[in-house]
């Protein structure tokens, strides 16, 4: 768990600041061999996804809800041709265009979901971990309960609550994003809370209190700054899970109407009957798009995770255990003892609950 170089452990922070210290950039420098390959591959895929989403209007040959052009209607379930390289769907849309436009919907949902979850989860974790008390315990129990629950079911319940199923473009995007947020808040909460509980016992927090710094100042300047090291990793992994959860919701019919936006999962759900009659192009391309985006983001997240774990990190030189041993020994008491009565330990896991 311990990061490679916690700011307190090495003086690196003082003289090597700058762009090299940014989360992903630093890991890129740190990585070697296969690990670097996986990270780079993930970054490349993610960048392509991002560019596709931004330039969708330029890249897509047709609109996502366009049924006809100058030469007439596209026709339903047309096999791939020069006019429609990926064929057309059962509803008569151009598959290629919908795949390209779908990246935009996925990006919207991803960004909104991750931002909301990050904001709510970190805030709750910070306040709850810092002040402790019964509210903290209640929150921990609630988050544990939500965490142990099948996330898709929770997302379905939220989707029903927010949109009653179908909706417009932004309605649907927010419905999906908020449904996903609810699943991930507990993860941020747990990780940040565990870190906060650990850090608040540190001497520098004590010193700040003695000087007379207010709670808010200590929380934001001293505790929060030091408890964010695992966040980039969770953000990446959540982004990928947001895409797959959106797709799963769409697949079950909770997507955004085909006329309002293109959504990969929704298209896949609609193409389910096509498969039986041997029509492969309506499902293959949107499915590949989901798989690729999720793969890319997961590769980035996994690499960050492995690089953050001294036992899994491939070392550049044959550096031996000592620094790692120091790193690890800092953590156990803090993280496992984090929950009241070791609630976290009870589930057989520490703070790192985003694992699936």
């Amino acid at each position: 768990m311990a990061t490679a170089a916690p700011p307190t452990a090495t003086p690196a922070g003082t003289h090597r600041r700058g762009w090299r210290e940014f989360p992903v950039v630093r890991q890129l420098h740190q990585s070697v061999g296969l690990q670097r390959g996986m990270l780079v591959a993930g970054l490349v895929i993610s960048t392509i996804f991002l560019l596709t989403a931004i330039f969708a209007p330029l890249l897509a040959p047709y609109g996502f809800n366009q049924l006809r052009d100058a030469s007439g209607a596209f026709g339903a379930q047309q096999p791939p041709s020069s006019a429609h390289p990926f064929g057309t769907t059962v509803g008569g849309y151009d598959v290629l265009s919908r795949v390209i436009w779908g990246s935009r919907t996925a990006l919207y949902v991803m960004v909104i979901a991750v931002t909301l979850a990050l904001f709510v989860g970190v805030l709750l974790g910070l306040v709850s971990g810092y002040f402790g008390g019964w509210a903290d315990r209640v929150l921990v129990v609630i988050c544990d309960a939500i965490y142990a629950f099948p996330s898709l079911l929770l997302a379905i319940v939220m989707a029903i609550v927010i949109s009653g199923g179908q909706s417009s473009l932004w309605g649907g995007i927010f419905a999906a994003a908020i449904s996903i947020t609810v699943i991930y808040v507990p993860q941020y909460f747990r990780v940040v809370r565990a870190e906060v509980v650990r850090i608040k016992a540190e001497a520098f927090v004590e010193s700040a209190k003695v000087i007379g710094a207010g709670h808010w100042r200590i929380m934001t300047r001293h505790v929060f700054r030091n408890s964010t090291r695992t966040l980039p990793l969770i953000v990446t992994l959540n982004a990928s899970e947001a895409v797959s959860t959106l797709a799963a919701l769409g697949f079950l019919g909770f997507g955004i109407e085909a006329t309002a936006a293109a959504e990969w999962g929704f298209d896949l759900g609609k193409s389910l009957p096509d498969v039986t009659s041997g029509i492969w192009w309506t499902s293959l391309w949107p499915g590949l798009a989901i798989a690729l985006v999720v793969l890319g983001l997961t590769l980035v997240g996994e690499s960050l995770n492995d690089l953050a774990d001294p036992r899994l990190r491939t070392r550049r030189r044959g550096a031996e255990a000592p620094p790692d041993a120091v790193d690890v020994s800092v953590v156990p008491g803090g993280t496992l003892g984090g929950g009241p009565g070791g609630l976290a330990g009870l589930e057989g896991s520490g703070e790192g609950e985003w694992s699936r």
């Binding site: 319940v157 199923g165 041997g278 774990d309 520490g350």
Partner: protein, 368 residues
């Protein structure tokens, strides 16, 4: 993602507990009985929180009868049905009567086909259980040996391939994996059936059994007809692999991470310096302790497995709880949806408890 595993070996066992294990065995923390009791009592708040959350969330949109039938019935009839079902009472009164019914094991009655949810569970639960069994079978048979292999060949090319494969397996949405398998093996090659749990003929034969268990494989064996057994197994292959690969991917990386973790520990080093052969080292010293956290994490996988089962069942028209949930969703029967969701919450909570009990029995360090 693998941080759970990391934490398990790294935080709980690795640095401090391993050397002191012998001294800790007695007296460190509470006893097994206390642990099990507290763990059991914790099921209640977990289920209670979820039931409460789901109830108020679902009801915040209005009453289920309007959601299901609104626009299809005249307003007066609608109001009458709402009244007779008690949905015009204050929300808090509805909540208490709902919880009261739940405590007696009454999960409610569906709106669309008027069947008690306990009946839905007994009819469709078997199918989901069977699917989960096949999936776990695939996951164990594929995930664990490959994870060991990857850990053993760490940072060489098979490890690289296996890691990417593992990510692919669990990153690809299950329904897409299902669609692809269906397309290739059922439609194009025609080797396996496209959907369902058995062909019509076999289902008719199975329904003649006096006391069917609902688990088709067991029923087919009881029936004793090799054709039916073959048919049931053929139908299970694709859904089992689809859901199994998802879990296998998770297992693979879990085993890999944990075995790498234990391989780096002092006692493995000590055994190596004593001249214990590398194979035995992996098998006895590194692999066995690595399995403990895996058992615990399997508990968390149940939630993932159930999410995946909903999608897999929908893809393959596998008539289990997940398939049925989707049917009720399409019919906007939110009483049924709420019932199934709560039912699954109970299943997850109980499974997690059982897994924790097993973990506690195996590992003496799991205590309060």
């Amino acid at each position: 993602m693998s941080t759970t595993t990391t934490e398990l070996t790294g935080g709980g066992a690795a640095p401090e507990a391993a050397p002191t294990q012998a001294t800790r065995r007695r007296g460190g923390g509470g006893g097994l009985g206390t642990y099990l009791l507290i763990r059991f009592l914790l099921i209640i708040p977990t289920i209670f929180i979820l039931v409460t959350t789901v109830f108020f969330l679902m009801r915040s949109t209005g009453d289920p009868i309007t959601a299901a039938l609104g626009g299809r019935l005249p307003a007066s009839q609608l109001a009458e049905r709402i009244h007779s079902a008690g949905y015009d009472r204050p929300l808090i009164a509805q909540y208490f009567s709902y919880v009261g019914h739940l405590a007696q094991g009454d999960f409610g009655t569906t709106l669309s086909d008027r069947r008690p949810l306990s009946n839905v569970l007994t009819t469709f639960g078997g199918a989901t259980l069977e699917l989960a069994f096949y999936a776990l079978l695939v996951a164990f048979l594929v995930g664990i040996p490959l994870g060991r292999l990857a850990a053993y060949l760490r940072d060489r090319w098979p490890d690289a391939v296996l890691r990417v494969v593992a990510i692919l397996w669990y990153a690809t949405p299950v329904f897409f994996v299902g669609l692809l398998l269906k397309l290739v093996f059922a439609v194009n090659l025609g080797w396996l059936p496209v959907a369902g749990r058995a062909s019509t003929g076999a289902e008719i034969q199975l329904s003649t059994l006096p006391h069917p268990t609902g688990l088709y494989l067991i029923d087919a064996i009881k029936l004793g007809d090799p054709e039916v057994i073959r048919d049931v197994l053929q139908h299970a292959v694709l859904p089992g692999i689809t859901l199994g690969l998802l879990t296998a991917g998770v297992f693979l990386r879990l085993v890999r991470t944990n075995v790498i973790g234990t391989l780096g520990m002092g006692y493995v080093e000590a055994a190596r310096s004593r001249g214990v052969p590398e194979r035995r080292l992996l098998k006895k010293h590194a692999y066995r302790p690595a399995l403990i956290p895996i058992i615990t994490v399997i508990g968390l996988q149940i939630a993932l497995l159930l999410s995946g089962a909903v999608l897999t069942e929908t893809t393959f028209e596998w008539k289990g709880l997940g398939f049925q949930l989707n049917q009720y969703l399409q019919a906007r029967d939110y009483v049924a949806v709420q019932g199934i969701v709560v039912l699954l919450a109970v299943i997850v909570a109980v499974t997690n408890f059982i897994v924790d009990v097993i973990a506690a029995l195996i590992d003496p360090r799991v205590r309060y």
